[in-house]
Point group: C2
Chain length 202, copies 2
């Protein structure tokens, strides 16, 4: 943007803000002006929150989720079943699962999904760590909560094959029509899977 902002420092802040996801030049300018007009305390709080987060938040040593200690809250929670593991692609997937509140075990974050096209191969993911945990933590159940994409599919198959020979049940989230979803808006592949996975009533 060639807009005259009257201040190099304001322009610099606009530039930094516009690097954030979902923030264009216009939003960045609006946010920068909001910070300019607001009190110094609010700006300082934001600036500090960024540094604090960056300094103290890192992946959980055990599961790869977001943590402030060596291990994340969920890994340290004695009420969570250590013998049941839910495998997800990203730490954020844990948020979705926890919101649904259906799983009472622990998590394992792969840190991505297999994608030959994007050059993500097994060595890029926390797969060896998963196999180690399955053995060391006497895991009896592995639930694969991976995306319903080609990459999610490939990753699920890879994990299932990797865990063959371990005394563990490997399941995957069901594919089907979303609750409240109109058939009209469901794609054919999903419908095909939903049909194949149809279940008796009552």
């Amino acid at each position: 943007m060639r807009t005259h902002l009257g201040s190099l420092r304001l322009a610099q802040l606009v530039q930094e803000l516009s690097r954030l996801p979902g923030i264009g030049q216009k939003s960045a300018t609006r946010i920068a002006l909001h910070l300019l007009e607001g009190d110094a305390e609010a700006a300082r709080a934001l600036s500090e929150a960024i540094l604090e987060m960056k300094a103290h938040v890192h992946p959980c040593r055990r599961c790869g989720a977001i943590a402030e200690e060596d291990e994340c809250e969920l890994c340290r929670d004695p009420r969570r079943d250590p013998h049941s593991l839910c495998v997800v692609g990203q730490p954020t997937d844990i948020f979705s699962m926890e919101r649904a509140a259906v799983f009472r075990g622990r998590y394992h974050v792969l840190g991505g999904l297999l994608s030959p096209l994007e050059g993500v191969d097994p060595s890029d993911l926390r797969l060896a760590e998963l196999e180690l945990r399955v053995r060391a933590e006497a895991v009896r159940e592995v639930v694969l909560a991976l995306a319903g994409t080609v990459e999610g599919e490939a990753t699920a198959l890879f994990v299932a094959r990797m865990l063959t020979g371990h005394p563990v049940s490997v399941t995957r989230l069901a594919t089907g029509i979303p609750v409240g979803g109109d058939l009209e808006y469901v794609d054919e592949v999903t419908l095909e899977r939903a049909f194949a996975g149809r279940r008796p009533l009552g």
Copy 2:
């Protein structure tokens, strides 16, 4: 949001970000995770840009626009005509005027528009400063570039009345149909004004 983020500091950053204009909880979370996953240098640059801007950017002592020095770039620019003043509501209005590149004088920022409903009265605006400047800087022309709203209207009338008796021409931006605008989408009041302000061709 009750989402399990696994980190108080991450939650704190999400909260600070969601206070920014146009940023909801979802965008705030996405931005926070982007900063978490990005390198430390990017996060530090943003954090610093906020503090730098806050420490060094303030209103121009003369015109009220955004400045890093005592006076803003435009007030210090000797190529700008000091005897022609464009009166705007907010510093950001200057950006719009400069983008259009039609005005070669200087600016005066009122810091708002008169609004009895929102409790903004003349003493809240930089009106006395404007009258002082008109006299001290031997201003010959005042162009009111105020919003086409009731508040803009009221403010324009107030300024015009205030400057009665000063040897200065006071004009206001024309009201009319926007360039490229279809008549279909122009409201009646604008059309009425555009008709009243019709001009001979050629």
